[in-house]
């Protein structure tokens, strides 16, 4: 890899400015026309505790958080302790010394060490808060972080708080630069030089889902807070009112999905967002949405389970619940996102599919994407098509569940004369009247299942990464796709014949596409971050493929190298 695809990890105590340092560096790189992909872990404590923020930046597209850092910036002893085993030859190590709360062990051979007295300098400036500015100054000098854009970013942020605060921070930044200047740079890491700025935004997965909701024409949102999904509601709460829409925080998840169902019945594009525990509580109402053919959309930001589990950690283990989590036969359309861009685009897709197919649509995101900020081409609202439900034309007698060729029955909004009808969770005839006859149930189930089948051909085809025959194909989903892309590329560069298949439509499964892909590969590896190999299960059940599962569940995403190693073992 180019030495300017690099990863800077900042670590320290929560509240010490770890997050803002990361944000500033990321924004400065993005302004300089570079790509960024950030990754964070949060302390389990409410306040304080170990925090880590890592920025990967490169002039080229980035697909994941990377293998490990190239540069570590340690704000305190805990940060050093947690990361010291990763100080491999070639890495650079910037740390608070002297005057910090720790003295590192002997620096390992080949590690490039840059002691910077961050705390001491901050103390001299009589402001603990300036510690991270000192660090940033040093980092900018040492690793060629664009000073112009970094200052723009700082100005944008602190400018609002008044000249004095801005100047003080810039001063600390300069101090950091001065401290680094005399140090001899021995490592090869440098952020790429600025290029023509691209028209991008920098946004987290959760904010992106919120933005997607706005772009998708959302009118009503109801949710109950839950880590790591709450920021979607926060984003929507902040911006939806500007567009005249409504957000409410419900008393629990059952109420929020209920409100979504009610609002959708009443004619509004509606959605909610939650995480695993909330999804579990919504199972019954999602069945009702299927049965009553009411469009509802739900984002599930998966976290470490089961139960309360590891609420701030990454996992992709809600696929079983997403697809099978209803009593009776009541499927949903399930999508999953790969990256932050998908969080925008596929939230629009999910809202559209719910309207088009009049059924529940679940969009799966995950804990690592939720807070990962990435550069995304600035979305142009005009590029997004908003699909509306098929409406009754007012002709004849209205029957809500009319049998039609494609199984989709026109809807009608309350308030329309002549369209009065019932939406119900009981089995029913075309008019909605309860009926427990064998034929009714069989025909209506066939209708409800039949209408969503075409989505496998009508949703964008699953991307195949690579051409021709391969010794091994990787099939994976969610944010693990980004890891697979890089692993495939690097393996290919090393001469391996590998391919990738990256489904976004999880259910119903585009079986023919799976089969066609697998037909070109000798072996199929399915990496995923869960214990049971949930996608592997569905592949075995629905296709003729015999996948080799590759599961990890330690609360962290795969790294490209981890995936490459496994491929090399089994290819």
């Amino acid at each position: 890899m180019a030495k300017n695809d690099l990863i800077i990890r900042v670590a320290g105590e929560g509240g010490e400015g770890v997050v803002s340092t990361g944000d500033f560096v990321a924004a400065a790189c993005a302004r300089a026309g570079l790509e960024i992909y950030t990754f964070k872990t949060f302390p389990a404590e409410i306040k304080g505790g170990y925090a880590m923020y890592q920025v990967r930046t490169s002039p080229d597209r980035i697909y994941n958080q990377g293998d490990t850092f190239d540069v570590l910036c340690a704000f305190n002893g805990e940060a050093y302790e947690v990361n010291k085993h990763l100080l491999k030859p070639g890495t650079a190590f910037v740390y608070d010394y002297p005057g910090g709360d720790f003295e590192p062990d002997a620096i390992p051979e080949g590690v490039h060490a840059y002691p910077i007295p961050m705390s001491k300098t901050a103390k001299e400036m009589k402001s603990y808060r300036s510690k991270n500015m000192v660090a940033m100054g040093a980092l900018s000098v040492l690793f060629n972080i664009n000073e112009v854009t970094l200052k723009q970013v700082l100005t944008k942020k602190f400018g609002k708080k008044g000249e004095e605060i801005l100047n003080f921070n810039l001063q600390a930044f300069e101090k950091g630069k001065e401290l680094a200047m005399p140090l001899k740079k021995t490592d090869p890491w440098r952020v790429a030089d600025a290029t023509a700025p691209k028209d991008v935004i920098v946004i987290s997965g959760n904010d992106a889902a919120g933005m997607g909701a706005l772009l998708g024409g959302l009118e009503f949102f109801s949710a109950y807070p839950i880590t790591p999904a709450t920021e979607i509601a926060k984003y929507v709460a902040t911006h939806l009112p500007k567009l005249g829409g409504t957000l409410i925080q419900a008393e629990d998840e059952i109420a929020s999905i209920g409100q979504v169902l009610g609002a959708s019945y009443a004619g509004k594009k509606s959605m909610t967002a939650t995480s695993g525990p909330g999804l579990a509580l919504m199972a019954e109402m999602l069945g009702m949405a299927f049965m009553s053919e009411t469009p509802v959309m739900l984002v599930d930001v998966q976290r470490g389970g089961p139960s309360t589990g590891l609420p701030t950690k990454h996992e992709q283990s809600d696929l079983f619940l997403a697809i099978h989590g209803a009593h009776g036969d009541a499927p949903r359309i399930v999508l999953s996102v790969e990256d932050v861009k998908d969080c925008i685009d596929m939230t629009v897709d999910a809202l559209n599919l719910a309207e088009e197919y009049q059924c529940p649509v679940l969009l799966l995101s995950d804990g690592s994407l939720a807070f990962s900020t990435q550069t995304v081409p600035r979305p142009n609202p005009a590029d997004y098509t908003i699909v509306h439900r098929k409406m009754w034309d007012g002709e004849g007698t209205y029957a809500r569940y009319k049998m039609t060729e494609d199984g989709i029955s026109p809807m009608v909004n309350p308030g329309t004369p002549g369209g009065m009808h019932i939406a119900t969770g009981l089995e029913h005839t075309e008019s909605g009247a309860p009926s427990f006859k064998a034929e009714t149930h069989e025909q209506m189930q066939a209708k409800r299942f039949g209408k969503i089948k075409p989505v496998v051909n009508r949703y964008k085809p699953t991307e195949v990464d690579g051409e021709g025959e391969a010794d091994l194909g990787i099939i994976t989903w969610g944010s693990t796709i980004g890891v697979a892309r890089e692993a495939v590329a690097r393996l290919r560069a090393e001469g391996y014949k590998v391919k990738g298949f990256y489904p976004k439509l999880m259910w119903p499964m585009p079986v023919e596409q799976y089969e066609a892909f697998a037909a070109t590969c000798k072996k199929i590896l399915v990496p995923e971050v869960n214990y049971q190999g949930q996608l592997s299960h569905f592949i075995r059940a629905e296709t003729s493929i015999k996948p080799i599962p590759f599961t990890i569940c330690g609360g962290l995403p795969f790294t490209p190298i981890q995936m490459m190693d496994r491929v090399k073992e089994i290819i």
């Binding site: 991008v200 009118e219 409410i248 008393e251 409100q259 609002a263």
Partner: protein, 292 residues
């Protein structure tokens, strides 16, 4: 809801009957409640196509099937949230919730406080028969412990709850109680509820001759007493006092409480106004906030 704002039509009570035939047992108090609903709709001239009747699951929750209107038959205990969503989506329409004591106060009991305190602009009619009818007779939160029912063959271990006191405590802005044996009174109370802007709640005692052997028509006749003349319906303390029943345990029927405060949809609309929100707002301004 306040149906005052609705388009007015001139219909008879029977015009609000749907084509689905009523399935309740002969002698069930619900027949009377349904007539009272038809009557109040007709008196108010409610345009059916601007009415959403929403229910959960239970005998009482079958009501929407029998009313000509837009309607939803949802899940046990979940009429409240669904109706809240529907009301917020169409604040210019009328929303009527009907349901049972089990539906509303057992499985649905977690939603009630929030609908009331948020003053969601809808009318909630609770058919209070002290039993789970549809599931064939288990004790409900309003059952008396004397009742020997399906899962309590030796009598129940619980004290019954007091729906009126709950709703007053929760902050409902219209609280009334009727008895299915007094259809005229019920119609008046329902009418008042429909006219009220805000969360209006009407509790209606209703006999279930099939499964509740002790809360008979005769029992209810003895139990109820009209709200005394001169009761100040704007006085929460007085309403609570009445709801807590008199020394002989009589239950008040009539209107206990009625006040006005902003409804949830109004308060949400105020937020939109505050931020200067409107349909034509340029979404690019929001996207810009994410530029690095």
């Amino acid at each position: 809801m306040s149906v005052a704002a609705l388009h007015k039509v001139d219909l008879k009570p029977k015009d609000y009957k749907s084509e689905v035939s009523v399935v309740w047992c002969p002698g069930c108090g619900y027949h009377g409640i349904l007539s009272s609903i038809y009557k109040s709709l007709a008196e108010l001239g409610v345009d059916s196509s601007n009415l959403m009747a929403i229910s959960g699951i239970g005998c009482s929750s079958r009501t929407p099937y029998f009313i000509k209107s837009y309607k939803m038959h949802t899940l046990h205990g979940r009429a409240g949230p669904v109706a809240t969503g529907a009301q917020l989506a169409q604040p210019e329409q009328a929303v009527l919730v009907t349901g049972g004591d089990g539906d509303g106060f057992s499985i649905g009991g977690g939603h009630m406080p929030h609908m009331a305190r948020k003053n969601v602009n809808l009318t909630y009619i609770l058919y209070d028969n002290g039993i789970y009818g549809l599931t064939k007779g288990q004790y409900s939160p309003t059952s008396r412990p004397e009742l020997k029912a399906y899962t309590t063959p030796y009598g129940g271990p619980d004290e019954p709850m007091n729906p009126l006191l709950y709703m007053l405590t929760y902050g409902a802005t219209y609280v009334a109680q009727g008895f299915a044996g007094k259809p005229q009174l019920c119609a008046e109370l329902i009418k008042g509820a429909l006219e009220h802007k805000g969360f209006s709640y009407v509790n209606i005692f209703s006999q279930c001759p099939t499964f509740n052997s002790i809360d008979t028509v005769e029992f209810y006749r003895e139990l109820v007493r009209e709200v005394p003349e001169g009761h100040d319906t704007s006085n929460l303390g007085a309403a609570m006092e009445l709801a807590r029943r008199d020394a002989e345990g009589h239950a008040p029927i009539g209107l206990l409480y009625k006040v006005n405060r902003p409804t949830l949809d109004e308060r949400l609309a105020a937020i939109v106004t505050k931020v200067g929100g409107h349909k034509g707002y340029d979404i690019n301004k929001i996207i810009d906030l994410a530029s690095p």
